[in-house]
């Protein structure tokens, strides 16, 4: 589908960014000392900090990725919501209190508080950098994905824009402005999501929703006689045509109508017969030409007055009552959905003759009840299989999400921006409330998008903004701008955490580079610019990767490297500095290695065949369930081996 930049979206967008920058410059004068730069003088009010937690945490992955996953696959995306939120329990009940007592500015300081070890400073700084970089990539990719359809620019433009704005914010004002940016962003995101959810409920369900719903061929045949099928279709005005042997064994029909249009339909078996539903296709020929839904792209199409594009999708095939429902309540929303039939979309490739490849986006019929249960997404399908091993991937992911939140360096650093432990606690509670409420909304938004008739079948990240557009254009403009500020806020926090790791942990504490406070701030700013530029490059390189997958990556590394060290340091007296160093190193390296050698990475990044040996060594893609305990054990073993004799 072509995205036409909406003037409203552009204006609202730039107004938002303008206000953010203005705030940043205004507050910029205040943060001149390093304590001010890094930890905002320890004076940010707890309520503001709490909502800023939400603004920081609800990144592109939460808003775009989860809603998109739910919109295309159903319940499974919600598992991420649950896992992410549950991680806050670890953060609040296990880490928050003790952490506040210990540290000064950064996570490395907290780790090092009792040991004064340069080794710890270095290792913790490196770990912070590694996790922050991996978490930055999906945010930058998210920025590009957002900007392209909104403003009509290419992916790389969006990435560069985010990078530039964030570098500007971080360099001018440090933590204070990022906290206010994130407070603003968090509050607005939740507010507008609530409005969107209300409008979804207000709109209710119908079989033809949305301003852009495309009328696909939708024929239901009761007990059709296969011999008579072609005649039946002729009676309805469709002539069956053939198109090559590649299609012979597949459940498709090519139909032509009297006006010369060709359509592709998928044959779907239903309880009482057959459903023929329109599908979409893109054909790429060997000589570089492309046609979309039968219309060739390029000038000839424009001349002929036709548009070569994919149509928006996502609707209900049949409602329980057979007619539009009108406004629904939050519970009857689920009742009606579970009794309906839905059309979801999948993709497959068909190799035709002459080296032409056709990408087919085909519909599948699914009951609402099925969409509302776990296990429909390909990465979670293992839970419906027999045996223990297919389920390990799911278990490992839920474990990593649970442990990951408390381990994220850009979240931890926020504990130091309030003045005492009580305030840290209160702000975490506010954070949990805000984030939890938002995650409840993601389920409604995702399911609303699923039935809105406005989804882009090639890109599930756009589901939430497109849903908004199908309801109201102003809302679409606002939500897109907020989503963009979402990315701004998260990226600022990450760059700050990384800059702190470089200037404070690695340079000042490990390498013992002499710096005045003022110099340290300047070094941090330089580091911010450098990291920002690296993030821009990576965001462009990783354009094709799935945002949620990358975030899961960051969570696994964080949980493996940081959490065991933090927990054991806080709760086990016999932890030694060698144990901590070993634990962080082993956790970080093992989780990175596991991910880089996993089946998912081979398919999505390297695109080569994976050696069979790896299949035995690394049978599933999520490392958490192996590498987190490994890090714990390493820490314990090394600590016991290096106990100081008293």
């Amino acid at each position: 589908m072509t995205y036409e930049p909406s003037l409203i979206a552009v204006v609202v967008f730039f107004v938002f960014v303008g206000i953010t920058l203005a705030l940043s410059f205004y507050l910029g004068g205040r943060a001149k000392s390093s304590s001010g730069y890094f930890a905002a003088h320890g004076q940010i009010p707890w309520f503001v900090n709490g909502v800023a937690f939400a603004g920081d945490y609800l990144s592109a992955a939460s808003f775009l990725g989860i809603c998109g996953m739910i919109a295309f696959y159903g319940y499974d995306g919600f598992l991420y919501s649950i896992g992410y939120l549950a991680g806050w329990i670890v953060a609040l009940f296990v880490i928050a209190e003790p952490m506040k007592r210990l540290g000064k500015f950064t996570f490395a300081d907290a780790l090092n508080a009792n040991y004064q070890s340069r080794g710890i400073q270095l290792v913790a700084g490196v770990s912070t950098l590694a996790v922050s970089l991996f978490y930055l990539i999906p945010q930058m990719v998210g920025a590009g994905v957002l900007v392209r359809p909104l403003l009509g620019f290419d992916h790389w433009v969006g990435v560069v824009m985010v990078g530039a704005v964030v570098i500007l914010i971080v360099v001018t004002a440090g933590m204070v402005s990022t906290t206010w940016v994130q407070f603003l962003k968090g509050a607005l995101l939740v507010l507008f999501s609530a409005v969107l959810t209300l409008l979804i409920l207000q709109r209710g369900f119908s079989e033809h929703v949305g301003t852009e719903a495309y009328p696909f061929i939708n024929l239901r045949l009761i007990d059709p006689d296969p011999e008579e099928l072609e005649e039946e279709l002729e009676r309805k005005g469709y002539r069956v045509v053939t198109r090559g042997s590649a299609w012979a064994e597949r459940p498709y029909l090519w139909l032509a109508t009297a006006d010369g249009t060709t359509s592709l339909v998928r044959m779907i078996e239903t309880a009482d017969g057959l459903l023929l539903h329109g599908a979409q296709w893109i054909t790429d020929t060997a000589d570089g030409r492309q046609s979309i839904n039968g219309v060739e792209t390029g000038q000839s199409a424009l001349d002929a007055g036709k548009v070569a594009e994919l149509e928006p999708v996502g609707h209900i095939a049949s409602l329980p009552s057979g007619e539009a429902t009108g406004p629904v309540g939050p519970l009857s929303f689920f009742r009606i959905l579970s009794r309906s039939e839905l059309i979801l979309w999948e993709r497959e490739f068909v190799e035709e003759g002459d080296q032409a490849v056709t990408t087919v986006y085909y519909p599948k019929l699914i009951s609402g009840a099925q969409a509302l249960r776990p296990g429909e997404h390909p990465k979670f399908a293992g839970i419906r299989k027999e045996g223990f091993w297919p389920k390990l991937n799911f278990l490992s992911l839920m474990f990593a999400l649970f442990c990951g939140t408390a381990s994220l360096p850009h979240i931890l650093i926020r504990y130091y921006t309030v003045k005492d432990a009580a305030a840290a606690r209160k702000s975490t509670i506010v954070g949990i409330a805000t984030i939890g409420f938002f995650y409840v909304l993601t389920l409604y938004m995702g399911l609303g998008a699923m039935t809105s008739g406005a989804l882009d079948v090639t890109n599930n990240n756009m589901a939430a903004p497109l849903l908004a557009r199908s309801i109201n254009e102003w809302l679409f403009a606002a939500i897109s701008a907020i989503a963009f500020t979402t990315v701004l806020g998260t990226v600022s926090g990450l760059i700050l955490a990384s800059a702190g790791a470089i200037s404070h942990d690695i340079l000042k504490n490990y390498a013992r580079v002499e710096m005045t406070d003022h110099q340290q701030v300047r070094v941090a700013k330089l580091a911010s610019v450098a990291i920002g530029m690296i993030a821009i490059v990576l965001g462009i390189l990783f354009e094709k990767m799935n945002v949620s997958y990358l975030v899961g990556w960051a969570f696994s590394v964080a949980a493996s490297a940081n959490l065991p060290a933090l927990v054991m340091l806080l709760f086990w007296k016999r932890t030694t500095k060698q144990g901590i160093i070993a634990g962080v190193l082993v956790g970080m390296i093992s989780s990175l290695a596991w991910i880089l050698l996993s089946a998912d990475t081979f398919t999505e990044v390297y695109a080569v065949t994976r050696p069979a040996l790896l299949e035995t060594l690394i049978p599933f893609s999520q490392p958490g369930i192996v590498t987190i305990p490994l890090s714990f054990l390493t820490l314990v073993a090394v600590s016991l081996a290096t106990q100081r004799k008293l």
């Binding site: 319940y75 919600f78 598992l79 919501s81 649950i82 939120l85 549950a86 806050w88 329990i89 670890v90 609040l92 009940f93 296990v94 928050a96 209190e97 003790p98 007592r101 519970l331 009857s332 689920f334 009742r335 009606i336 959905l337 579970s338 009794r339 009840a369 509302l372 249960r373 776990p374 296990g375 839970i383 419906r384 389920k391 799911f394 278990l395 839920m398 649970f402 005492d420 432990a421 009580a422 606690r425 209160k426 975490t428 509670i429 949990i432 409330a433 939890g436 995650y439 409840v440 389920l443 806080l570 709760f571 086990w572 007296k573 016991l640």
Partner: protein, 114 residues
Amino acid sequence: MGGYDASQLFARLLPRFIPDGLIRMPPRIFADRNTRLGLRYFFVYTAVYLAFVLVIAFAPQWSEWELIEGLNMAVAWGFGLIVFAFLLAMMYGLGCQPDDSDPGPAPRDAEESK
């Protein structure tokens, strides 16, 4: 709520073959009531979360069971975990005692206390 000795907690949790000498007196951190409260709530929540994860992994058909019309266990339990997290957090906030490290309320001026 009587406090409990965290070393007893560890002793109950760990398998017996780990020699006693390995886990001795817990660090001073357990003397802190707030920390103990937090850990208690942590274990409660973890149990509920773990149950949720295990049901989905090993008995996904249970998650399809409809609690009330239209609302299946998967959705209800998911919402429940979110709400429960917030409730526990609130209870924790209310149950925590002021920290020793908190600066006390600013001393009143002599003129104020008449």
